[in-house]
């Protein structure tokens, strides 16, 4: 009955990850994929899925070494106070950039798609306020919220994909395997970054009750996410044509807008958007929450809620750094390429460090001292 330590289930973590990956697809990721891989984006997505599984395995292996600690805490346990704090800080900055990027993308999207007369700052501020409220209520509430709503988000994707495929011209996908290997590799790395979804498993592994299920559930999350992204990619290219998929600012929105159900109710996409905005809220809140945890680990302050407002101000500042939509899109494209590299490097660093630290302990245990 007493409020114990915050705990979520492996299934809830899986749903958070799935929402985190698929919920923000409407913001422009699909266009980036199409630009780099053309009609063959599906191959890159499949490759990205495999990369995602490898990274997941790596993340779970690292998290298992310190099952009761967040990466911010065990980075310090491995590398000491200063070096560990530096690594934790890098993770915080990484999450901050993603949060700010998402906020900015959402603001741009809203003024482009549904609220052309509302200032972007107002849209961003409203979302940031929601995120602060969500983070204030904590991880458990975010997980419950997502558990209740993620089925609707997936249903919305299914409708959009199905309605897109109904009017698809699969000739647009021909011929396969004509994209140059360099671009395909770049696209694979990009989609890998999408499917991996940062380091969510690593960040929240310590809060999971049934830890033995994490790998299985999250592997499923990556498989399902890969299928959804692949299906959207196919639907976008085959329904809108590769050229429109590359040139449209938000191809997924175009897909939803032209869906048969949309013709019946005219601009039904606003209803899908409502659900996708919820998903964006979840994704930003989760990253924000992780950052608050990181700062508590570094500073030793007991209550993470003290960091909500300062972090919100920093995120707000960062989200206004891009002068225009174009600049914001360019930054997204560049950052996405390096995101996967950062994920991989951090995991490797923690894995090697963890093995180094745990080896003497194991030896001592074996000796019985």
């Amino acid at each position: 009955m007493n409020p114990a330590k915050i705990q979520i289930s492996a299934r809830q973590l899986m749903l958070l990850k799935l929402t985190g990956i698929t919920g923000v697809l409407f913001l422009g990721s699909i266009r980036l994929l199409t630009i780099t891989a053309g009609a063959q984006g599906i191959i890159a997505i499949a490759g990205g899925g495999i990369i995602g599984l490898v990274i997941l395995y790596l993340a779970v292996t690292v998290a298992k070494m310190f099952p009761e600690q967040t990466p911010f805490e065990f980075a310090q346990a491995i590398y000491g106070r200063w070096m560990g704090s530096l690594i934790a800080l890098s993770l915080i900055v990484y999450n901050l950039i993603i949060s700010a990027m998402l906020l900015r993308d959402l603001g741009d999207f809203l003024i482009t798609a549904i609220l052309p007369e509302t200032p972007i700052s107002a849209n961003i501020l409203l979302m940031l306020g929601l995120v602060c409220f969500g983070v204030y209520l904590g991880l458990e509430s975010l997980a419950y919220f997502n558990e209740g709503f993620s089925p609707l988000i997936f249903i919305s994707w299914l409708i959009v994909i199905a309605s897109g495929l109904l009017r698809a011209d699969f000739g647009w996908l021909q011929p396969l395997f004509v994209v140059e290997p360099g671009r395909l590799l770049l696209s694979t790395v990009h989609s890998g970054g999408l499917v991996v979804d940062g380091l969510m498993v690593l960040l929240f592994y310590s809060f999971v009750t049934d830890k033995h299920q994490v790998l299985k559930y999250n592997a499923w999350a990556i498989v399902i996410a890969t299928i959804i992204i692949g299906a959207i990619q196919i639907a976008v290219v085959a329904s809108l044509s590769p050229n429109l998929a590359k040139t449209a600012l938000y191809p997924v929105l175009e897909l939803a807008r032209n869906a048969p159900l949309g013709v019946f109710l005219e601009r039904i996409e606003a209803l899908y958007l409502a659900l996708w905005i919820m998903a964006t809220f979840i994704k930003i809140s989760i990253l924000f929450y992780a950052n608050c945890l990181g700062l508590t680990a570094i500073t030793g302050v007991a209550n993470y809620r003290y960091f909500i407002l300062p972090l919100a101000l920093v995120t707000l500042y960062l989200s206004f750094q891009a002068d225009s939509v174009v600049q914001s899109i360019l930054f997204d494209a560049i950052f996405n390429q390096y995101a996967l590299l950062y994920d991989f490097s951090l995991l490797l660093l923690l894995l090697l460090g963890g093995l180094w630290v745990r080896k003497p302990i194991k030896k001592r245990v074996a000796r019985g001292s």
Binding site: M1, S9, Q12, L110, I114, L115, T118, A122, N123, L126, M127, G129, L130, F133, G134, L137, G138, E140, S141, L142, Y144, F145, E147, G148, F149, L265, E266, R267, I268, A270, L273, A274, I277, M278, F281
Partner: protein, 541 residues
């Protein structure tokens, strides 16, 4: 200055002395001297005219003094006359007990041979006697005895068992709780004839000393839940409890939330159903409303008859009810958002109709919606307060006349009147009054959000509400369970109502001690399980 002091003195002089609750120092043992005991009781209970001190002699010849103390109007005087005064005053001599009635042995004999009452208890302190008198029992003091006899002779005017007015149903039992606490307990016990049904009495309220009963099925209820209920009740240090609503507000988890976290009902069948799910019920003397904990949001949406009718029909009704919940909270906000920001979402013909209807309306849609909603709330509140049959008339006449007049005057559009009316009907379709109330309240900020940010604002409002709802807990149980955290078994009885025979398990969120509640129905039994019944019966010839 002097005048002010004079007035203060005057006020003090006329001030009615405030009655004090029984003090610790009054917890003194009874004296063998009956005069002393009577004097102490009179001093504490004051000069209240409704408190009767009936002094008499047990068996006139013995000169053994006794006194009966009770509150006039709260005790059954016929009962006292027939089963106490008559045996003691007239027949004590015949039984030969009066001579030794002052001793310990005599005291016991008096109880066991002379008093023909069913409820008898001993008291040895003044405090116990005072509390018994105030709780409508009678107290018998006897000269020479250091103990008193407390006699359960409570009786007062009360409503009979009637159909509950706030939870009417088409099919199902018609009996409802009344203000008599023990009668309410009996109504529940009549339904659950289990040896594990536990009823624990307690008294709450410093001055009201209200009787409450905590009921639970020991074989089903989570012991941690029962302990938690006791713990929260222990911390209730209040002046008075006049309704179960007081207790509800003291024991709920989040007092600042608009959503109720404790369920109340007037129906004994509903309490019985809750007990069978492993929940705990609290019955309070003087009110027909029992409360049940824990309560999740899905507990507030069904009605008892959902389980009395066939599952397919009730599933349909529940889906309609869920839709009405969303209509009740979202419709005006969606209307404002779409007409203000997203005209392109609506079919062209409908846009033209709405635009034509709004021609000449001087307010933006948001103001129009707010004005209409406030007016509707005024009508509803006014209709409730107006006495007797005029209330509903005011509601209907006011609604029609004001709505029509506002449209004709060009203050609001006819479509807005339709939206507000449909919203009101939607909120009425929610079975729980307090959830409906919360929805009515939350509609206003949502309209403001919609007026400022369109659908994005509505979504923001919904996120805030839902985040708040998922963060709530009722006695440790997540408020949105079994949707989040999800539980497939319990989900069968939320938005849909699966067949009764498929509801094989009690709702897991309540952590019942025994999870399985039913076996398989006849049509699911394996042929072998049915045994020889299916075999053709042998011809005896």
């Amino acid at each position: 200055m002097r005048r002010r002091r004079g007035r203060r003195e005057e006020e003090t002089a006329h001030k009615v002395p405030t009655p004090q609750p029984v003090k610790e120092e009054e917890d003194v043992p009874l004296s063998p001297d009956i005069r002393k005991n009577i004097a102490r009781l009179k001093a504490t209970l004051g000069g209240s005219d409704d408190i009767v001190f009936r002094e008499f002699k047990i068996n006139n010849a013995s000169e053994l003094e006794a006194a009966l103390i009770f509150i006039d109007g709260l005790t059954n005087k016929d009962h006292l006359q027939r089963d106490l005064l008559a045996p003691l005053m007239l027949f004590a001599n015949q039984t030969g007990q009066a001579e030794w009635a002052s001793g310990r042995r005599g005291f016991e004999a008096l109880k066991s041979r002379l008093l023909t009452m069913t409820e008898i208890k001993d008291a040895s302190t003044l405090r116990e006697c005072i509390e018994a008198v105030l709780a409508a029992d009678a107290v018998l003091l006897i000269e020479g005895s250091e103990r008193a006899i407390l006699l359960g002779v409570k009786t007062w005017e009360h409503r009979p068992v009637m159909e509950p007015t706030s939870e009417r149903i088409v099919r199902g039992p018609r009996d409802g709780f009344n203000e008599l606490f023990k009668s309410n307990i009996a109504l529940v016990r009549r339904r659950i004839k289990s040896p594990y049904l536990r009823v624990k009495y307690a008294r709450v309220g410093r001055r009201t000393q209200t009787d409450i009963a905590i009921m639970f099925e020991e074989a089903l209820a989570d012991p941690a839940l029962v302990t938690e209920v006791y713990r929260r009740m222990q911390f209730m240090d209040v002046d008075g409890i006049l309704d179960s609503g007081y207790i509800e507000q003291y024991i709920e988890d989040s007092p600042y939330s608009p959503f109720p976290q404790v369920q109340h009902t007037e129906r004994p069948d509903r309490v019985a159903a809750a007990l069978l799910e492993g929940r705990v019920a609290i019955l309070v003397d003087g009110t027909p409303f029992a409360i049940m904990v824990p309560a999740t949001l899905s507990n507030f949406l069904p009605t008892p008859e959902d389980h009395y009718e066939r599952w397919l029909l009730m599933t349909g009704v529940r889906v309609i009810r869920t839709v009405s919940l969303f209509v009740g909270i979202l419709l005006p906000a969606l209307y404002v958002a779409i007409t203000t920001f997203h005209h392109e979402m609506i079919p062209r013909q409908l846009v033209l109709t709405i635009t034509a209807a709004r021609v000449g309306v001087p307010f933006p849609a948001m103001v129009e919606a707010l004005v209409m909603e406030v007016t509707f709330e005024l009508l509803r509140e006014g209709g409730i307060r107006v006495p007797g049959p005029i209330g509903p008339t005011i509601g209907i006449v006011g609604g029609i006349i004001i709505g029509q007049a506002a449209v004709v005057a060009g203050l609001v559009s006819p479509i807005m009147v339709v939206v507000v009316a449909v919203t009101a009907i939607g909120s009425f379709a929610v079975p729980s009054f307090n959830v409906g109330l919360a929805l009515r309240l939350l509609r206003f900020p949502l309209i403001l959000f919609a007026g400022a940010f369109g659908l994005y604002g509505v979504m923001a409002g919904v996120i805030i509400i839902l985040m708040h709802v998922v963060s709530l807990k009722s006695f440790g149980v997540p408020y949105l369970a079994p949707i989040a955290p999800s539980n497939s078994q319990a989900l069968k009885d939320t938005i849909v109502r699966a067949p009764l025979w498929s509801l094989t398990h009690r709702p897991k969120p309540f952590h019942p001690r025994e999870e399985r509640r039913i076996g398989r129905p006849h049509f699911m039994q394996h042929k072998q399980d049915r045994g020889e019944q299916d075999e053709p019966s042998e011809d005896p010839n």
